[in-house]
């Protein structure tokens, strides 16, 4: 079974169609990159999965998305869905709390009270994102003091702390320097052993470096999805060919 399955999925802003007739599956324990020019609907596709797209005015959808076999429109609560599907955004956001409380923001809501358990979660998640050694002596300090790259890793840790099965990343490295980008790519590769990871990226090199599969979206339509090496070396469609070779962007 695929971790996530789009079935005849369409979205609209007002009457304007955005995503059209998307049929697409995402594997567990793998990284899928979504590429395509600006405004093609990549972010909408990602945000449809955890239903944060609905927060936008005028958003409507048709068709179905299943997360581990359950339709996202029929889950028992949004909370339940979003706990399974973590998301990290383009801008690194540190909540105005301490580093530790950023990680524990979700777990505290879901009722973890035991102090040693909270400590364990904090350390485990920060180690997962390779941030523990950098911050272990200042866990109580405001997270706003961290650098952009550190904040983005903290954002991933915060998402991991509620034990999601899927991690969505919307251009997570676009505002980061190469060193921070490399750190995040490395940890995503590690996390993909247990998670379904979907990353929207503008950076074709990044897609090639880290993803197992790549999906190419153009004007709201899925043009092609294939194992990354194949999509870049011998794409089926001429549009994919044009995009990956830099003919248009």
């Amino acid at each position: 079974m695929n971790a996530i399955e789009f079935i005849d999925f369409n979205t609209f802003y007002g009457s304007k169609p955005v995503l059209q007739n998307i049929n697409l599956g995402f594997d567990s324990n793998s990284i899928t990159a979504i590429i395509g020019p600006s405004g093609c609907g990549k972010t909408t596709l990602l945000r449809s999965i955890n239903r944060t797209a609905e927060m936008e005015r005028g958003y409507k959808s048709q068709g179905e998305i299943q997360v581990f076999g359950e339709s996202i429109m029929e889950v028992k609560s949004l909370s339940y869905l979003r706990r399974q599907v973590g998301m990290v955004y383009q801008t690194p956001v540190a909540l105005p709390l301490s580093i530790r409380e950023n990680v524990l923001f979700g777990p505290r809501y879901y009722g973890v009270k035991n102090r040693s358990e909270l400590d364990t979660i904090t350390e485990y998640c920060l180690r997962q994102v390779a941030l523990w050694d950098e911050v272990k002596d200042r866990l109580k300090r405001p997270a706003s003091q961290l650098s952009g790259g550190q904040k983005q890793r903290l954002a991933i840790a915060r998402a991991l702390a509620v034990e999601p099965r899927v991690l969505l990343l919307d251009e997570p490295c676009s505002s980061l320097d190469p060193a921070s980008t490399a750190l995040i790519e490395e940890l995503l590769t590690r996390l993909a052993k247990d998670l379904c990871i979907i990353i929207v990226t503008h950076n074709l090199f990044q897609a090639r470096r880290i993803s197992n599969e790549t999906a190419f979206i153009l004007d709201g339509r899925l043009i092609e999805k294939a194992p990354t090496a194949i999509l870049f070396s011998s794409p089926q469609s001429s549009e994919t060919q044009g995009f990956v070779s830099g003919l248009f962007g």
Partner: protein, 280 residues
């Protein structure tokens, strides 16, 4: 060359306008200090009006107490509905028609002349509900008057909180109230408090709404809800209007102005604290 001349002329205009306003303010304060300052002493602050006609001797202690009671009561009655409305507008009512209507109503409330608010509370509280001229009625009139100030300032403080926090919290699946209490409210607290203080200052200086609902020429201002109270602006009005004592009128004005300046400086420093928090 011509360009810099124009620039200089404009700068000069701005400076002159700014200085002019400052001059007006300083002359008001200066004049009050000159006329009223010599009569302010511990006896004036700490004793009740006396003499004949009443107010020629003694002090203004019950008026100070009365004004403090009135603004405290107004604040207590307006902050809860005011803050809840603001939270609705900023956190829950981002879509649909209802928030548009509420915003419009609040704006319109801000435009109601305060004497009309006073007369409304007179009809409702003083007469119909039988409260009589009382602290409670005055507090209610002032609360209605400052309610829009509280809603607008709290709403703007909440809206100024980075939307990314809401987005991040939302995508963790936590409830809006959890996000509100853990992130949004603490983040906006200084701005919300500054709005409360501005509302306090606004209420402390208002005369019309309390004239018909709460104020008495002489009262002990004990804080009893159904008793009339004295209040600084009303006392000032009586002293001046009845030509009882111009000296005491100026001194009372100076005390009122001092109280307002104190409240506003506090509000402004909270506002600048909030700006520093927001830019962080």
């Amino acid at each position: 060359m011509k360009r810099t001349l124009m620039d200089r002329l404009q700068m000069a205009c701005f400076w002159v306008s700014g200085l002019f306003i400052l001059l007006v303010l300083l002359s008001i304060i200066g004049y009050l200090i000159w006329r009223g300052g010599p009569f302010i002493n511990s006896e004036f602050i700490m004793s009740s009006p006396s003499g004949f006609p009443l107010g020629t001797e003694g002090g203004i202690f019950p008026a100070i107490k009365g004004t403090l009671w009135l603004i405290l009561l107004a604040l207590i009655m307006s902050i809860i509905p005011g803050l809840l409305t603001a939270i609705y507008l900023s956190e829950y009512g981002r879509q649909g028609q209802l928030p548009v209507i509420i915003n419009l109503l609040v704006q319109s409330m801000a435009g109601v002349p305060s004497i009309i608010t006073g007369l409304f509370v007179y009809a409702l509280g003083v007469v119909t509900l039988g409260w009589g001229i009382s602290l409670l009625a005055g507090g209610l009139a002032l609360a209605i008057m400052v309610f829009p100030v509280i809603v607008i300032s709290s709403r703007d403080a909440l809206l100024a909180v980075d939307d990314n926090y809401r987005l991040v919290a939302n995508s963790l699946g936590v409830s809006r109230s959890y996000t509100l209490f853990r992130v949004i409210l603490p983040r906006a607290a200084a701005g919300i408090l500054a709005g409360w203080l501005l509302a306090l200052g606004y209420a402390a200086g208002a005369t019309a709404p309390i004239m018909v609902t709460a104020a008495a020429i002489i009262a002990s201002s004990s804080g009893a809800l159904l008793e009339p109270v004295m209040a600084l602006p009303y006392h000032l009005y009586i002293l001046f209007n009845e030509h009882i004592s111009m000296n005491h009128a100026y001194a009372t004005a100076l005390v009122l102005l001092g109280l307002l300046l104190f409240i506003n400086v506090l509000a402004l420093s909270l506002q600048s604290l909030q700006e520093r928090i927001n830019s962080h």
